[in-house]
């Protein structure tokens, strides 16, 4: 069977998806990146390999997410795409007539508006992360809850309290204040969900024309408290697609399938790369006052790639060499 692999390396999670030629998901995996993207990719491929029935042939690979360049260099991707395009492609695949996509990930959140399956407008959070998954993670940890317990608790709220959600630091002090006043934890958690949604709609969703059908995806879509808060704030039904947590990887896999249609052979380096030893190192270039941090990627002690230089003098040397 021919399959296509999508890899989404994000700040918080690294996701892998395999699809068949009809774009059906046959395997998906959600892993925590934990600041070590290379290990996450390798262990993801390893789990995938142990799952895969014999006779599966990876025909194309797509990479997305903030670590897409790194992922592409390690596995050999046929297409490297930004998260917006990948998420939009996946959303259309799940709900063909989707109009608005709300996506909240670990450290960024975005909104995508579509018109007949084509992106017509988008926005990403710019200056603040108060409306993202990492913040919820932190607050759950502070309350001594797992993120799953945290999510469930929001549903028990009778009287959500109003939390100042403009800034994550102020939100935290406000939550502590509300706890000291004696509000129940569930009311505070629900209040936090509402604050996060308010913040998202005021910052990311500002000036965007949100219309039904609305899809809510990204890791935070696992949290029913947020879903309900969105439904109430927008007065619309919110759809959470089946593969909500790996939509970026799904989009990358679909894009890979499209990309290899015009190619003879996939650039995929094969599963043997799991056994390669990848290392990164960095140095400060002193060629000009910009003092760029140049990063080098080695596979089994051979230099594979460089990035991080503003003037591209280091990047060029290696490109010419390869």
């Amino acid at each position: 069977m021919s399959v296509f692999l999508g890899i989404d390396v994000g700040s918080v999670s690294t996701n892998l998806v395999l699809i068949n030629e009809k774009n059906d998901v046959i395997y998906s995996l959600y892993l925590r990146t934990q600041g070590r993207p290379i290990e996450a990719i390798k262990s993801g491929l390893n789990s995938m390999l142990s799952y895969m029935p014999l006779g599966i042939d990876v025909k194309g690979v797509g990479a997305t997410g903030s670590g897409r360049q790194l992922a592409s260099m390690i596995v050999g991707a046929d297409v490297v795409k930004n998260e917006i395009t990948a998420h939009a492609v996946a959303a259309v695949n799940q709900i063909p007539n989707v109009h608005s996509v709300l996506e909240i990930g670990g450290q960024d959140s975005k909104i995508i508006i579509l018109d007949n399956g084509i992106v017509s407008d988008f926005a990403m959070n710019t200056v603040c992360a108060a409306g993202t998954g990492s913040f919820l993670d932190q607050q759950a940890a502070r309350l001594g809850l797992t993120i799953q317990e945290f999510a469930a608790l929001a549903l028990e709220a009778k009287n959500p309290v109003r939390i100042a959600g403009r800034c994550s630091v102020f939100a935290e002090s406000d939550m502590i204040h509300k706890q000291q006043l004696g509000h129940s934890t569930s009311d505070i958690v629900a209040g936090l969900c509402e604050a996060l949604v308010r913040n998202y709609l005021n910052n990311v969703g500002k000036g965007k024309d949100i219309k039904s059908p609305v899809i809510f995806q990204g890791g935070v879509a696992a949290n029913p408290g947020i879903k309900i808060a969105f439904a109430e704030a927008l007065g619309m039904e919110i759809i959470v697609p089946k593969h909500y947590s790996v939509m970026g990887a799904l989009g990358a896999a679909i894009l890979a399938r499209e990309a290899v249609a015009h190619k003879e052979k996939s650039s995929f380096l094969g599963f043997s790369l799991i056994n390669s030893d990848f290392k990164t190192s960095s140095f400060e270039c002193k060629g000009c006052p910009n003092l760029c941090e140049v990063i080098e990627l080695f596979a089994d002690n051979t230099l594979k790639a460089r990035w991080g230089d503003k003037c591209s003098k280091w990047t060029d040397i290696i490109e010419d060499a390869i």
């Binding site: 930004n82 998260e83 917006i84 395009t85 084509i118 992106v119 200056v127 000009c288 006052p289 910009n290």
Partner: protein, 364 residues
Amino acid sequence: MKITFPHMGNMYIPVKGLLEYLNLDIIVPPPSSQKTLNLGVKYGPEFACLPLKLNLGNLIEARELGADTIIMAGGVGPCRFGLYSQIEKEILSDLGYVYDCLVLEPPDKHLGQFIMRLRKIIGTNSWGRVIEAIKFAYQKAYAVDIIEKKVQYLRPLEKKVGTADSIYRHILNTINDAQSINSLQEATNLGILKLDQVPQNINSEVIRIGLIGEIYTLLEPFVSFDIEKELGKLGVHVTRSLYLSEWINSHLLMNYYKKEHSKPFAELAKPYLNYFVGGHGRETIGYAVGFAQEGYHGLIQIAPLTCMPEIIAHTLLPRVKENYRIPILTIYVDEQSGKAGLLTRLEAFIDLIRRQNNNRRIVQ
């Protein structure tokens, strides 16, 4: 007296030409870099916009090279920039850097006051000589713009990325070094000839984007993370709403030189914005409409974070977008901005436009 001035993209070329024509001693600050920004961020007020911080950094770096006199633009009106020359002077004097300042702005008392300040700088040069110098400086700005427009055209087409830009850097140096109208003409012609030789891909599908917004972020590639080059790599032909020589001609020379094609941006902005809101707010709207009418595929607005005139324009752009069905992306930059985030947005924006174009073709 050693004169310096803050950077704004290629502006140093005509300004240097002007002052050297008057036989004045000048010091061009080192190009804006991370070090410049760090200095500005350290000593500037946090809530000021990015141009103040970089200007301040430029002036500190120039001081280290021995400059003692500043020439700077000022201004009246709602944009904060009008105040910056005064603030920068105060900050520098607190740091122990005593500078003489000439602020070019409409005089608040009478013309004589301005002329007296100017006379102090130009010394014994005759007014006739000053006029010649201004003309020479304008010719330099004009030459830079001709070359730059050609580079903008070539970037999405060149076979090897960066060819046009390496020639461009070299031409800028020869234009900068030109001491007479003749050598300037020669440098420009040679530059055009060289750029004509850049190998091009004939079949590439080029997207046309209008870059609109605030003047400093439009003209200074350091703050915009080389947005024009990055768009070029994505196959985009960029046209700006603002070119240095056009701005000098319309703002400082009262349109002394004839415009090639006049765009009455204030007229075009009228259905949306009828008032001078400071900075380039009205230009942003006017050129947005102009580019949309000329069939551009998309618009990118760029401004420093907290820029009031551009915030006003930003809130009006959705109506332009709706009326002309043109995608618009707004980008704010400050010292916290990162290049990765910008590249993601640009790539997504260009994807959006390409997919829309393909779709339209299928529908037709």
